[in-house]
Symmetry: C2
Subunit: 414 residues, 2 copies
Amino acid sequence: MQADLICVGNELLTGLIENINSGFLARRLWSAGIEVREAAVVADSTEAINTVLERALENSEIVIITGGLGPTDDDMTSEAVASALGLRLALDRNWLERIEKFFSGRGLKMTDNNRKQAMIPEGATLLKNHGGTAPGSIIKKEGRLIVMLPGPPNELIPMFDHSVLPVLKDFNRGSLSRLKTLKCCGIGESSLEDKIKNFGEWGLPPISYVARGYEVHLQIKGRGSEEEAAAAIEKAENRLRELLGDHIYGSDDDTLSGKVAELLTGQNITLSLAESCSGGLLSSLITDIPGSSMFYVGGMVAYSGEAKRGGLGVDKSLMVKEGQVSEPVAMALATGARAKFSSDLAVGITGIAGPDGGTPQKPVGLVYIALDNGRECYCKKLNLGGGRLAVKERTAQVALDMIRREALGVKRQQ
Amino acid sequence: MQADLICVGNELLTGLIENINSGFLARRLWSAGIEVREAAVVADSTEAINTVLERALENSEIVIITGGLGPTDDDMTSEAVASALGLRLALDRNWLERIEKFFSGRGLKMTDNNRKQAMIPEGATLLKNHGGTAPGSIIKKEGRLIVMLPGPPNELIPMFDHSVLPVLKDFNRGSLSRLKTLKCCGIGESSLEDKIKNFGEWGLPPISYVARGYEVHLQIKGRGSEEEAAAAIEKAENRLRELLGDHIYGSDDDTLSGKVAELLTGQNITLSLAESCSGGLLSSLITDIPGSSMFYVGGMVAYSGEAKRGGLGVDKSLMVKEGQVSEPVAMALATGARAKFSSDLAVGITGIAGPDGGTPQKPVGLVYIALDNGRECYCKKLNLGGGRLAVKERTAQVALDMIRREALGVKRQQ
């Protein structure tokens, strides 16, 4: 079973808003066994929406349209969909009441424009919207399912997960595709390629993969009945786990920082950080995880030599002798942070993020990451490329992987 | 003049890769006076590419196709474009030599698959690719311009900027649309709406806007000849600057942290941070800016009470009396950081990012941000919504705006 996605909005076509709905919907649809045939972005214009909608209905059983459900004159998705499907727009009194309540509850007056949001194509089933007044809905017509969703992700995502996904799973009984993503780190794209190059010959379902900085994500596609798809994915997953071992840190919605949080919280291990070239990014990734205050004590962003000395007790003569970007200074940062914050583990990072500050001996991208666990302190040296933001990102990823391996007690990588 | 965008790739249709090329190309095309009619994502299939390409050529003078130029069997963009345009594919010996050099330069052996990347539609002009072996090219045919670009943004972006943009500007002489984005902060979407609600009646070109957390971005569209478009935008910009004053911090590619960096560096003002609920995000945004080590001394992520006390000298009895999330503690954090790091300015942040830790008196989203400039210390209280990541993001944005206003010497906001 296939779906077409249509994202409506002039702001998407000028690049004012990034389109994150397409990727989200694609992943969710696959998880419901539905493949995406084509994803289009079109202008706020009845004609444009009509044309692309007719095309989509010719090709796919499911069409999902996002955006253009607001109160302004530009918003014409309901109108366009009604006209393309030959349906009348009718005032939905319950929805109008809901809009009135939404405004009065916030001490605001509803404008006449908002009344437009209660004009619904006849036969459409309205969907709950906890975040706004846009009328998401589902229309079933001639064996097709047409879903209209609001553009803002904070309205679209909960609406899709709560109200649309169950309907799609029901609509799609029988014919299934399944997708599972395995997430790896600590292995380069080319070594990974080498390990899995004969994958296609082992009678396993196809896999795709993409490098995301220091991580590689592998996607397994299973097709057939629900049982066939699940069995095919399981077989491929087992084989990949044999090949990649503890490089695989998780799957699907897992994140590396989430995995680290889970491991540290589960074992009651506390952590502190001393970051130089990563500039607080590692700390920010860790604190993105709800409940990180359970294990993360605190961190220092020691951007200047003075902060390294005064803040963490790194010996000034050591910095002069070895340079601020050196293995001994990374280790002194880790040990200093561990003492200062009284944590079980501490990570110290120093490096040159660029674009300036590099020398022939110590080029941009040279980074040292040290981990002190109280029994020993060890350090990893990296030569990273790709510019300042990529250096920061990869540094944070490698540090997370070092913490993960330390918490797992698995063998260390050089 | 209009363009159609076609992004080719199964990985885009499964959501394994986020599509950032569409937004980038849309913004760049507008800057060259070209509007995007439709942006489509299709599978790696000759048939799918053919269908969407024919449709695009019927509607637009310019078609840009990204992805599917790699060496694997899945990559069939060159083939599909050649067949849709009725062109032969021919081996380009110069490109083949370039590919061979690319591999030998990295100590790798070229595979037979890579030879495929030297099969180019006849009449195509090849574009330089400093980052890889994918053959980007431009084909002119019957008054249409067809541009093929590699999918990875690190290859696509420089190729587009260096080799495609000048050709497009030349191709588009005469008919022009222009786009300018003004970026604001410190004003809510609804107050902004109120200020500009009559904009359409003042004979000015249309504007669109979008809220991005604490920022609002306004996009002005000018149409007509180059002079007409520029004059229309200038007129609208002047009016918006009158209305919005110092809420406008920059335009187009400017960022709030970049603006802060520019202001502090220009005046030789140094900065330090003490973050609690923003967890290092503010520090990371600041260190994203090249040269931030010129003004940013360092920061502390004081996630625990112990880190606040031991690291920054916040009085324990103050935290017990007022609570860790309180105005006096935010101010003590700022003052503590300023003393510890010997900086001119310091910001202290404390709050509840959630989802846990809220109480009826101090709900999730309550945040205090204090700024100490040596003469005085002042504090802003926020009640933020939208979940943990949104609270972190908005906190960092508000703090950046406070630093910006302090450095500008403009009146403080409550």
